[in-house]
Symmetry: C2
Subunit: 202 residues, 2 copies
DNA sequence: CGAAAATTTGCAGAGTCAGCAAAACTGCCG
DNA sequence: CGGCAGTTTTGCTGACTCTGCAAATTTTCG
């Protein structure tokens, strides 16, 4: 994949990363509504017009890190042993991606709070997660011999896994700091793998 | 809930409905990018400024029918017998909402195609579906004695059910016209309820 | 009817975003 | 090197979105 290593490609990647980082940082620091494209561009040392060559909206830049995360996770998923049960692979990949340091937790909470505060950013986040889900479905289809354009399975399991992680994070950020995020994610996976049986029924 | 039946309330609801209908119709007919707020407002016989009193973005108006759908479904869900297994209630409510007429199918396909064609509308759709998911989670929590602000269960099952329906629809619209949409939805539910076992494994 | 409350509207202003063409830059071959 | 070809950056412009504010209009209710 990443075979193009010319100066040109590296510069493009760097510009994109700088814009995404600036957008995210400013959104967290100042609040989304106080961040303009002009300010993001200035922070990344490019013209406002260039910003729009990389991102089609301010919100897209703010949540660009989700796409990067998704790319890393897809790579990880592809590296899992081919004979490992699909659910185990997914759980492994997602659990490994959770930063358990105190600093990581603090950052994550700030992220989620910033996103939650603005409907347009929420929509962009969901969009990014949906893109991630589609990538996952492709990878899963390839590994399980299913067809992402015809079979429900790869989409359903990718969606279920992604949603389990999102739900665990959202609930955790909402006040379950007494529990480890890791454990909450694991519990969500367990529930979904069990077919979500109704609690308190035989 | 809907106890306010004064002229004022009825007019507001009518204006909102007219704007949503106009926005959706124009988006399907002309394509999303060729629809301006001005045109929507004109079609609903109000000023452009009034449009923004009802919807905070063009896309929100275009997908407003999803919110209406969600409201109807939540009502249906609340009406299900309290002792019915949760999964059965959900499956029932969603399956009943599928319009199986040829005309309904054609409309649904045009809808999905219109949405798919524009990233901003996709994001708004996901946002609306997320709102629906949250409503469902509240209702489910109330019925299963769980707490939507602490427990994973209501969110996970609401998300799984909603995503099952969305996946079935998307795949169906993509070319599975040989199969009944109803059957695809039922199959998706069955897979999720079974915990998404890997196909072709013992 | 007439006052109080809510809704609609016009206007102004800040901001987003895309198309276009010129300027600046990078890669590469002679 | 030098310079051409292909890419990226940039400024400019125009259409459009969206919000705040205050005036005008409409509805409600005593």
């Amino acid at each position: 994949m990443t075979v193009e290593v010319g100066l040109r490609e590296r510069k493009k990647a760097a510009t994109r990363a700088a814009l995404a980082a600036a957008a995210n940082r400013l959104a967290v620091e100042l609040g989304v509504e106080h961040v303009t494209v002009e300010a993001i561009a200035a922070a990344a040392d490019v013209s406002p017009r260039t910003f729009h060559n990389y991102f089609s909206s301010r919100e897209e830049a703010i949540v660009a890190s989700i796409i990067d995360w998704a790319e890393r996770l897809t790579d990880e998923l592809e590296k899992r042993p081919a004979d490992e049960p699909m659910w185990d692979s997914l759980q492994h990949v997602f659990l490994d991606s959770v930063d358990e340091s105190a600093d990581g937790h603090a950052r994550l909470i700030r992220q989620l709070e910033m996103i939650k505060a603005n409907p347009a950013v929420i929509a962009s986040q969901l969009s990014a997660l949906d893109t991630m889900r589609r990538r996952f479905a492709e990878t899963i289809a390839a590994r399980t011999g299913t067809d992402a354009s015809r079979d429900l399975y790869p989409h359903l399991i990718a969606g279920a896994a992604g949603h389990a992680v999102k739900t665990a994070m959202d609930l955790w950020a909402l006040g379950q700091h007494d529990r480890l995020l890791r454990d909450l994610v694991a519990e969500a996976f367990a529930l979904v793998r069990a077919g979500l049986p109704e609690p308190g029924r035989s």
